[in-house]
Symmetry: C2
């Protein structure tokens, strides 16, 4: 299949959420213009994004909200449940365990890892914390497909290396470091400092402008 850009995929995610909200409000039909308005983009962008995957609308009428949401769920692979491991049960990690949004979208945290001897063996939310020594056993047992990396930067690369060896191919990385991985492995970064620094840059520019 033709390579679809990252931005198209992340916009599909936002359309998915938009459609869910509209459905909750009992709205059955929506135009590309309305979806665009809600998300501060252009209607051409919405239509182009969808066009990579098919024709989901009716000319003159727009899109059926339920239909389109289900189509996008299929495209993004949200119709199935994903088994997720969380590595690093610190502040960020613990917050993510209870993050309702994840489970709502079919991402189920099924395994916890941490190498701190004080934490190994403990339970959080009904999940036992494992040492990374037993990583491949747990990954196989729980059929882990995605790993969330919430460990300090120093050890993030080696944690990913271990998980890649067990066959995990998708990572959400919270460590502020660029992870190296084989081509068939995907690493997405969630780096809050980068966004804050962009705000800092923006405010600094503004001050100069004044």
């Amino acid at each position: 299949m033709k390579k679809i850009s990252d931005s198209t995929i992340s916009r599909l995610s936002t359309y998915y959420r938009t459609l869910s909200h509209l459905i909750d409000q009992g709205i059955e039909t929506v135009s590309s213009e309305q979806i665009a308005e809600i998300n501060n983009i252009t209607s051409a962008q919405v239509r182009k994004d969808l066009s990579f995957f098919g024709s989901f609308g009716k000319r003159g009428l727009g899109y059926n909200t339920r239909d389109l949401r289900d189509q996008i769920a299929n495209i993004l692979g949200l119709s199935k449940k994903w088994n997720v491991a969380l590595v690093g049960v610190g502040n960020i990690g613990r917050a993510l365990i209870d993050y309702a949004e994840f489970k709502k979208q079919g991402f189920h945290i099924k395994a916890l890892f941490d190498n701190d001897p004080k934490k190994v063996g403990q339970e959080i939310g009904g999940l036992k914390i494992h040492h990374m020594d037993s990583v491949c056993n747990v990954v196989k047992e729980e059929k882990i497909e995605i790993a969330i990396i919430a460990v300090p930067a120093k050890v993030a690369q080696s944690v990913v290396d271990s998980l890649v060896k067990c066959g995990v191919k998708a990572f959400l990385n919270f460590a502020p470091i660029t992870i190296k991985a084989p081509d068939d492995v995907m690493v997405k970064n969630e780096n809050m400092s980068i966004e804050l620094e962009a705000l800092s840059y923006f405010l600094t520019q503004n001050e100069k402008g004044d």
Copy 2:
């Protein structure tokens, strides 16, 4: 000043971190090729990004790590301290209060807000939790410049509206919703679901390919 792209700014952030690591290791000189290698990009990209702001290297030699880090800190506005408010003291919010990486980069959380009557008045990490009713007073008192939005999607827009009225112009939004704000206000989004859904899409494509 010429408009610099978001991607350039976020790469500057990663160069900043790369340089900090190199300095910690006692390395004094670095080439664009080395910076590129560490971050999985091309050396031309590194040089081009820097070229928007000046000439910081020496031909034939490369860049002085300390020099370049300080230059980037100035560009990004990291030489000053930023006063940050955190709105929404739930799981995510609480994790962010202790997030060391923020403070290290000069982002100091100086005020907490939450409208849950059980939380208002409590203290976390030496900070009192305020009700949003007193938002403008606190913003003025603590000279808040940046707000982190960690409230449920339903109320995120109205929280931002209130803060904009008090003069806050920069937001880091964790709510899974597109925030509307005036042109002179910047909103950066940190949406973990979007990244996870990109992983879900990637894995789904892979399965089809097999």
